[in-house]
């Protein structure tokens, strides 16, 4: 009995591995990458994320002040296909892995700007979820891991002032399993326990978070 389950599981993980091997292989078939100086490379990112990483387009995340290790890992995951994104996965083949460290270091050193909520009435419920969690559905408080002001740590990314549209899209992707590169899958567990309305509310609160000077 158990063997059947095991072999199914093996087969599934093998399929997954194969798919994982095939996808990025086709995406990065063109291997002859010329590595430009950092300033030049940053121009590519600036178009969508702004020169200082404080993107003004709500679909594109602010990269400013994100932990360098976190940024580096996201870039690697875009490259390997572990994190799917139609837009970033069309950009990342142009960038060589050897550039990731400097790009990550650059954006981690930029100062995060404040954001504004367009639906401040939602932010009230959002604050409650962020600070207290949702006891009925066992959603832990976001502040527990990401800090009260959203500043995060090396393990938990900065959320302070992040665009609400980006935050809600990530939560939706964690919920559906479309984004599954979170170590230990804790963010997927958190998001799976949330309703769409709760996701919207907490996203409207996160964009208003500010850090003490």
């Amino acid at each position: 009995m158990k063997h059947n389950y095991k072999s199914i599981a093996r087969c599934l993980s093998l399929c997954g591995t194969l798919a994982g091997l095939l996808l990025p292989a086709t995406a990065s078939a063109d291997d002859a990458v010329v590595v430009p100086p950092l300033e030049e490379r940053l121009q590519l990112c600036a178009g969508c994320h702004n020169p200082d990483g404080n993107s003004i387009i709500p679909e594109n995340p602010k990269l400013s002040g994100l932990n360098a290790k976190y940024l580096n890992r996201q870039l690697k995951d875009f490259k390997s296909g572990d994190r799917a994104s139609p837009i970033m996965s069309s950009i990342i083949p142009m960038v060589d892995e050897s550039e990731f460290k400097a790009l990550a270091a650059y954006f981690s050193e930029q100062k995060r700007t404040a954001g504004v909520s367009e639906k401040p009435d939602l932010a009230v419920l959002g604050k409650q979820i962020y600070d207290e969690g949702i006891i009925g559905s066992a959603v832990p408080a976001c502040s527990g891991c990401h800090n009260e002001d959203g500043s995060g740590t090396d393990k938990y990314p900065r959320l302070t002032g992040q665009h609400s549209l980006y935050v809600s899209s990530q939560l939706t992707n964690f919920k559906s399993g479309e984004r599954k590169n979170d170590p230990k899958a804790v963010m997927q567990t958190v998001a799976k326990r949330m309703s769409e309305a709760e996701i919207q509310a907490v996203s409207e609160y996160i964009v208003t978070l500010k850090e003490a000077e």
Partner: protein, 240 residues
């Protein structure tokens, strides 16, 4: 034939759980099932107890817990999330490792405490960190003071033989502290132990509590919730 049947049932029942926990894991031996032995030392618990812990690392690891148990580990007043401060490290380690092993069922918490969310080495660190904390927020009590009735039940049924006269438990024997825990949590756990559904129930406690009515359980829960933190017996816990 009968044995064959029961083997089949035993194999079938835990199948789903087995697949979820780990492909190779044996089904956990839980209270009420054949082969259950209350204080069976799992290899993981033994390793954690041997390994000790580093409170500085534990503070970092505890981040993944404080979203529910709160930064001061006081849990929530309604008792959905228990207070972890003041609990013996040996008990914390027993509970965490048995939850990870599926012996004590806790689906709300499991994804945040199972491997790899928490590595084995982090368990001892967290227990060491919790030993440095004191909860300042007041714990949840029963709606009305039933402590006189509760105290009598606690004494007459010799609950103190394991949990201590001040509800201080027994670190060496892994008997939990029950003083100044949230009322809601105490009541729920006693019910689950009485009903035999808390996977790691102590069989002698199940006997001691077998005849308790709902009112008795409420009275004891209320009494224990009103006992001061055993570490500060002289000075009751400050309120917020």
């Amino acid at each position: 034939m009968k044995t064959l049947l029961s083997i089949c049932v035993a194999l079938l029942l835990p199948l789903q759980a087995t697949v979820v926990v780990a492909a190779d894991a044996q089904p956990p031996k839980v209270f009420g099932k054949k082969g259950y032995f209350w204080d069976e030392m799992t290899p993981e618990r033994a390793a954690v107890l041997r390994g000790g812990g580093d409170p500085v690392k534990g503070k970092e690891s505890f981040r993944g817990c404080q979203g529910c148990h709160k930064a001061d580990a006081a849990g929530v007043r309604e008792g959905v999330y228990p207070r972890l401060t003041g609990q013996h490290a040996s008990v914390l380690i027993k509970q965490i490792t048995e939850i990870r092993a599926g012996i004590r069922s806790n689906p709300k918490m499991l994804p945040f405490v199972e491997d790899p969310a928490i590595a084995m080495e982090e368990i001892g660190d967290i227990a060491a960190y919790l030993a440095t904390l004191t909860s300042v927020r007041e714990n949840g009590k029963g709606a009305e003071d039933m402590s006189a009735r509760g105290k009598k039940l606690f004494t007459d049924n010799k609950c103190f033989e394991c949990h201590g006269k001040n509800g201080e438990g027994n670190a060496a024997k892994s008997f939990p502290v029950v003083a100044s825990q949230h009322y809601g949590y105490l009541l729920r756990e006693m019910k689950w132990i009485k009903q035999g559904v808390r996977g790691n129930s102590n069989p002698d406690m199940v006997k001691a509590i077998a005849k308790f009515s709902q009112g008795d359980l409420e009275a004891v829960a209320d009494y224990l919730s009103r006992l001061p933190d055993y570490r500060t017996v002289a000075t009751p816990v400050a309120s917020k």
